[in-house]
């Protein structure tokens, strides 16, 4: 027993005993402990194995900079990995386990890596790196705008918060600890315009004073905060640096400031006999404190005065140190290597740093954001006569404990030419672990500077990036999971579909009936047959609808569609294609002229918002002289499409007089007693009417159609059948037959492209690349086996090969891919659409579709299967 709880003192509540488990072992601590202080009080020193060499590691610090004591807290679905034991508040029933050890901490098989150490030098990272991760729950995500955000609740932070709050400014102060001068200030808590958030780590400082923080309660329930502050004050303090000497990673070697914190805040003595190792006066002051608290100080080794510690001795716990050939027995080594201001957030804010030659640390210099750094974070501490001791020439002298980088790795990297600090960091992995090198960066940089014969200021430092400490993905995701991930849009007829066995498909944010179940193949065959032989009905309400009005509406449509619309007669409809300026198709739909200056545009379901944005962009930025108004009316109209040979009979019954509407025309009238717009347009190739009624009457219309259609054998059909029916006719779907690299000519849609007018994308259609004869073109495919339904996305080859298995297969040129594929009840066989290099000239020839263990033979055909 070497570490122990002091009989009195500390800011712990000895009346409240807390039970917890560490690696399955039941232990006890007090209210006010951290997991680290409670473990030390129980003389548990070994808390982890190092990542690369699996060396035993103990608690080194008492704060957020902890590099060794990584633990997983909780169990099952609430397991929270990558926590630092120094930041985990103890609570009754806490369960924690050490990370990176197998089969147990005491006996670690991988410690054999330690013997192989000479082979595991810099560059190891590139081969092996994996961290466990886990989703975590959080509550909700508040956002708050404030005059002043103070980060850090120490004396400097409290002073700044009080000064601002007294003037009436709205102030938030965040501190990562459960307790700080700010949380105990009665004056601050009495001010209604000041908010103090304890256990709150500000982890990111982004543009325009936008900062993010994670607040935790005592039992680690967390939530995310967003701040937009007029001014920010960083009072983040400073981290003490370890010294680099042989075996400086052995459990029992700690930062002197941490020993002090354990003694005074937690009343825990991490050892009975301490050796202090320092390069400044601060070490001597610590030694004095330790003595006063009853700890025996075996020696103070001051590098400025003589010999240094070359290495530590011991097994899983330090037992002695070697100084100039002599051994000094001890069970604790306290390192006082100088201080580094916590400039991480300042650096994230794009603040520049300056090397302070006297205090041997980087301090804030200038920043364009409205931020001020105060107190120790600003380098406001005495220099203590510090003199550089960046490394003691020895084996196993660790620089970055978490990445297992030793001083010799740094020298090796310098020898190999990694002189740039950014290259050096990536090659050696220094500072790239979850602690982001809080205790290692400066030592590594100084050693690199020495090895390359430059000053530290010349060598420069790497940029700190968010997050300051690891943030669980669950905290960021918050409640945006499952049904809350994205808005869900449903049509007015949705409940009917659900009640009639529809299986839904997501199309953008919309839920569309995919097929009316239970079994997909049977449903689609039944639905498709009904639509071709009798009557089918589709809920087409999700189709994008844009109302276009204005004096120049016709001229405008001429510019955005490949076809001409200004000459369309009132009451007529026309199919249109839209291209981007590069000539590639990006949407299609039918647009109808309702009146001289009034058009009804339809878009694809998924493209509605995109198209509206695009129309607006051209109107506002390129053609502001046009008088055109575009309004989305997608949800204002419910659309019911009836299709099939019996459609005319149905319409005659529910909309007398409208059944004789000519193809591609439109009329207003009454359908089933409802005011409606009826369009005689067809996406199935069958006789078809698209009936639009105001959204809230969609269900009434649908029900009327179903009731009147029952005697005709009406079948509601879903998107799968719709896709099948249109593919039988060779009609394309944007996003299925197109992928942003397909022109109208590639699809054989020359008839939809006007020759005599300009439109967006026209000039690109005569570029050399878009005129190539060997572009991929739309064709039909008929598999040699009529039962073979090809996988969509499958590649086409000229040779009879199966899909490659594993490595080493010879590459085979691919000449195209399957875009749509179905089993058609109307054709009595399977068929597909495909984009194939020079496809139109290959019609009648055969190609192969490589599949698992075989290839399917297909014959190329014109992409129209039902005339």
């Amino acid at each position: 027993m070497t570490a122990f709880r002091l009989p009195d003192g500390g800011r712990i509540d000895r009346s409240q005993k807390l039970r917890f488990h560490f690696d399955g072992r039941p232990l006890e601590g007090y209210q006010g402990d951290t997991l680290a202080s409670a473990l030390l009080a129980n003389d548990v020193f070994l808390v982890g194995r190092s990542f690369k060499y699996h060396r035993p590691r103990g608690v080194m610090s008492a704060g957020a900079e902890e590099t060794n004591a990584l633990v997983a807290v909780g169990e099952g679905g609430r397991l929270d990995t990558n926590s630092r034991a120094t930041m985990v508040e103890l609570y009754d029933g806490l369960v924690a386990q050490s990370l990176n050890r197998w089969p147990s901490l005491g006996f670690d098989v991988s410690a054999i890596n330690g013997w192989l150490a000479p082979f595991l030098v810099a560059g190891f990272y590139y081969k092996t790196f994996m961290w466990p991760r886990r989703l975590w729950q959080s509550l909700y995500e508040p956002a708050i705008r404030r005059d002043l955000l103070v980060v850090g609740g120490g004396r400097s932070g409290l002073r700044e918060a009080l000064a601002a709050a007294r003037t009436g400014a709205r102030v938030v102060l965040c501190d990562e600890q459960s307790e700080s001068p700010a949380t105990t200030s009665t004056e601050l808590s009495a001010l209604p315009n000041a908010v103090v958030l304890a256990r709150t780590t500000v982890f990111g400082y982004y543009d325009d004073n936008f900062l993010c923080a994670v607040e935790s309660d005592a039992r680690r329930q967390r939530r995310l905060w967003h701040f937009r502050a007029k001014r920010v004050v960083l009072a983040t303090g400073a981290h003490e640096r370890p010294l680099v000497f042989g075996g400086n990673d052995r459990p029992g070697v700690m930062l002197a400031s941490a020993v002090d914190t354990y003694l005074r805040r937690y009343a825990v003595a991490p050892g009975k006999r301490v050796v202090v190792f320092t390069n400044n006066d601060g070490g001597h002051q610590r030694a004095k404190t330790f003595r006063e608290l009853g700890i025996e100080v075996a020696a103070v080794i001051d590098s400025r005065e003589g010999p240094v510690i070359t290495r530590t001795l011991g097994g899983r716990r330090v037992e002695a140190v070697e100084v100039g050939g002599a051994r000094i027995a001890c069970d604790l080594v306290a390192m006082a290597g100088g201080w580094s201001p916590v400039v991480h957030l300042y650096s994230q804010a794009q603040g520049k740093l300056r090397w302070d030659e006297k205090k041997l640390c980087f301090v804030p210099d200038t920043c364009r954001q409205r931020v001020r750094v105060v107190g120790r974070a600003n380098g406001e501490f005495p220099d203590h006569g510090i003199e550089p001791l960046w490394e003691v020439n020895a084996d196993k002298a660790f620089v970055d404990f978490q990445s297992d980088v030793v001083a010799r790795d740094v020298h090796l990297a310098a020898q190999e030419g990694f002189a740039s600090v950014e290259h050096f960091k990536r090659y050696t992995t220094t500072g790239m672990s979850t602690d982001q090198g809080k205790t290692s960066n400066i030592n590594a940089l100084a050693i690199l500077a020495g090895a390359t014969g430059r000053s530290i200021a010349e060598t420069g430092t790497t940029t700190f990036r968010p997050p300051y400490t690891p943030v669980a993905y669950g905290v960021l995701a918050g409640r945006d999971l499952g049904d809350f991930l994205e808005p869900i849009r449903v049509t007015p007829i949705h409940d009917w579909h659900a009640a009639h066995g529809a299986v839904f498909e997501n199309v953008g944010q919309w839920k569309r009936p995919w097929y009316y179940g239970p079994q997909m193949h049977a449903a689609v065959q039944r639905e498709a047959k009904a639509a071709r032989t009798a009557l089918g009905v589709l809920d087409a309400s999700t189709l994008g609808k844009i109302d276009i009005q204005g004096r120049d509406a016709g001229r405008f449509l001429d510019r955005v569609y490949t076809g001409t619309f200004s000459n369309l007669a009132v009451g007529k409809a026309r199919y249109g294609l839209m291209c981007r300026e590069d000539g590639m198709i990006f949407d299609d739909g039918v647009t109808t002229r309702l009146a001289e200056n009034h058009f009804h545009m339809t878009t694809t379901t998924g493209g509605a918002a995109r198209v509206l944005d695009w129309l607006e962009e051209y109107l506002q930025t390129e053609w502001p002289e046009l008088e055109v108004y575009c309004t989305t009316v997608t949800e204002q109209w419910a659309t019911v499409a009836v299709a099939g040979p019996k459609a005319r009979e149905l319409m005659a019954e529910i909309a007398p007089g409208l059944e004789d509407l000519a193809f591609m025309t439109y009329r207003e009238g009454r359908v089933a007693g409802l005011d409606a717009r009826v369009f005689r347009i067809s996406f199935t190739g069958e006789l078809s009417y698209e009936i639009n009624v105001p959204g809230d009457q969609g269900l009434a219309l649908w029900q009327a159609v179903i009731d009147a259609g029952t005697k005709h054998g009406i079948a509601p059909y879903g998107t799968e059948t719709m896709h099948l029916l249109r593919a039988e006719k060779g009609f394309i779907i944007v996003g299925q037959e197109t992928d942003g690299t397909v022109t109208p000519y590639d699809l054989g849609l020359d008839w939809a492209v006007a020759k005599q007018k300009d439109f967006v994308g026209r000039r690109s259609l005569t570029r050399p690349d878009t005129r190539r004869a060997d572009r991929k073109q739309l064709v039909g495919l008929l598999p040699a086996d009529p039962r073979e339904v090809l996988p969509e996305g499958a590649q086409l080859t000229e040779v009879d090969v199966a899909l490659p298995r594993g490595h080493g297969s010879r590459p085979v040129p691919m000449v195209g891919h399957v875009t749509s594929s179905y089993m058609s009840p109307n054709l009595g066989r399977s068929f597909a659409l495909a984009l194939v290099r020079s496809g139109r000239s290959r019609i009648g020839t055969e190609l192969y579709v490589p599949l698992e263990g075989r290839a399917a033979k297909v014959r190329l055909a014109a992409p129209v299967f039902i005339k």
């Binding site: 543009d207 325009d208 936008f210 794009q350 300026e581 590069d582 944005d613 607006e616 962009e617 000039r763």
Partner: protein, 85 residues
Amino acid sequence: MLLIRCPWCGPRDETEFRCGGEAHVARPPDPQALDDAAWAEYVFIRSNPKGWFRERWVHAAGCRRWFNAERHTVTHEIRRTYSKE
């Protein structure tokens, strides 16, 4: 996250906006008059300076209006937003 000053709505979070790339690249009035190289220059080529850059933004989740911004591509500072030159 940037704080962007919409000329009509005032300062709003970046998530309400969408960036539309380099500003002041007008669509040629007669595309057919351009040779392939000149047309490709308009369609595909944009400048990518390290420093001040004039770019187009739209207040997509707000007033839906387009405007221009002068943004520094290194510091991300926006020193001006404007609706007309």
